[in-house]
């Protein structure tokens, strides 16, 4: 049953790799989508603060 255990370990590694790659892809897509990336402007003066 060594090969069964090896296959399960490989499956978990592949799932982990897919999570890293696809979650990163999802973040990139979300950031690129018009209207979804509304975040406070990093320039404080443009937010009305004292810069």
């Amino acid at each position: 049953m060594k090969m069964f255990v090896s296959a399960v370990v490989a499956m978990l590694l592949i799932i982990g790799g897919a999570v890293v790659v696809l979650e990163g892809y999802q973040k990139t897509v979300d950031a690129a989508f018009v209207g979804s990336g509304a975040r406070p402007d990093p320039e404080v003066s443009l937010r009305g603060g004292k810069g």
Binding site: M1, K2, M3, F4, S6, A7, V8, A10, M11, I14, I15, G17, A18, V19, L22, V34, G35
Partner: protein, 338 residues
């Protein structure tokens, strides 16, 4: 005076009666219904949808107009979505249940009639290498992920009716969310397993004349005669092609659903979803039979994928042509069992 009034009243009554008769006759002659049907002139839903479609837009959708970049949001009504929902909620669970429960019932009946298929003459005590490490790795990678994908997929089809009433909404939500996660990310391991199986076993799964002879004798499952077979018999070749063709189809439809609107539009996504579900429940039914015959259904069969080595008598009984060929090559020569 009284006589005059009587004759005037009589004349008036006759006139009213005449008007009623004439008007009734006129209505009957014009074919107008005498009772009112409130739905007779109402607009049917299909007609309304047809009328609302923009000219030349085809049957896809009723759309409005939007100014944001995502033009898909202009869709108001997509009539085909109703057919998809009907198949998704009614047809697929119905035929899926028939396929899976039918296969389980057939296997129980087969076991009660045929019992466990024993090794003729019992184990010889000598073994022969049936599957190398790479073969077993590919098998277990595909098998373990298929079980996870099947369970998480069946939850999408049957979970709301079967599990939700049992475990409640909170637990069902958590389980379904975890199931979706496993289904999406586990699919890559399954696809890799199918590719490995194609690379390793394709050449031994090309249909041949021996398969026809194998099928004509019921593959040894019916009766006691075991037709000779090569490395894979006719039944195993059917399983192989079901897994390969089904696996590729599931991967194509599944990835088009995982990346919506990247490969196809909404109609394509609905078709992919329907195909994905139908192929998947069919594969689950077939794989149930494969699991049965590879475990409780046949003595010595599990060793092929468990240890990689099988008893020589088992191999001669079920794969006589393969044993002959292997012994001629001097590969995987029989060794005493440990």
């Amino acid at each position: 005076m009284v006589a005059f009034q009587r004759s005037w009243g009589l004349a008036a009554a006759l006139a009213i009666a005449l008007v009623i008769v004439v008007s009734g006759d006129a209505l009957a002659q014009s074919g107008q219904p005498t009772s009112v049907n409130p739905t007779a002139s109402s607009v049917k839903e299909g007609q309304l949808l047809d009328a609302l479609k923009p000219p030349g837009s085809g049957p896809s959708a009723v759309t409005g107009r939007v100014s944001i970049p995502d033009t898909k949001s202009s869709v108001l009504i997509q009539p085909a979505g109703r057919d998809w929902r009907q198949i998704r909620q009614e047809t697929l669970p119905f035929y899926g249940a028939i396929a899976i429960l039918g296969m389980l019932a057939a296997l129980v009946i087969f076991y009660l009639i045929r019992g466990r298929i024993a090794i003729d003459g019992g184990p010889s005590g000598r073994t022969i290498l049936r599957f190398a490490s790479a073969d077993r790795f590919a098998h277990w990678l595909t098998a373990s992920t298929f079980i996870l994908l099947a369970l998480s997929g069946l939850n999408l089809t049957f979970g709301r009716k079967l599990l939700l009433p049992l475990i409640g909404p909170e637990a069902f939500t958590a389980l379904s969310q975890a199931g979706k996660f496993v289904h999406n990310y586990g699919s890559f391991a399954f696809a890799l397993g199918v590719v490995l199986m194609i690379l390793l076993w394709l050449k031994d799964n090309i249909p041949s004349g021996a398969d026809l002879a194998w099928f004509s004798k019921g593959g040894g499952l019916i009766g006691s005669d075991h037709p000779p077979a090569g490395r894979f018999n006719g039944g195993q070749k059917v399983i192989f092609w079901v897994v390969v063709i089904g696996g590729v189809a599931l991967s194509i439809t599944g990835y088009s659903l995982m990346f919506p609107f990247v490969f196809t539009d909404i109609a394509g996504l609905q078709e992919a979803n329907m195909l994905h579900g139908l192929i998947a429940v069919g594969m689950v039914a077939v794989i149930l039979a494969h699991i049965y015959i590879g475990s409780v259904g046949m003595e010595g069969a599990f060793d092929a994928m468990g240890k990689g080595e099988v008893d020589l008598n088992w191999a001669k009984q079920h794969h006589a042509l393969w044993v002959e060929k292997t012994e001629m090559k001097g590969k995987g020569a029989a060794t005493p069992a440990e």
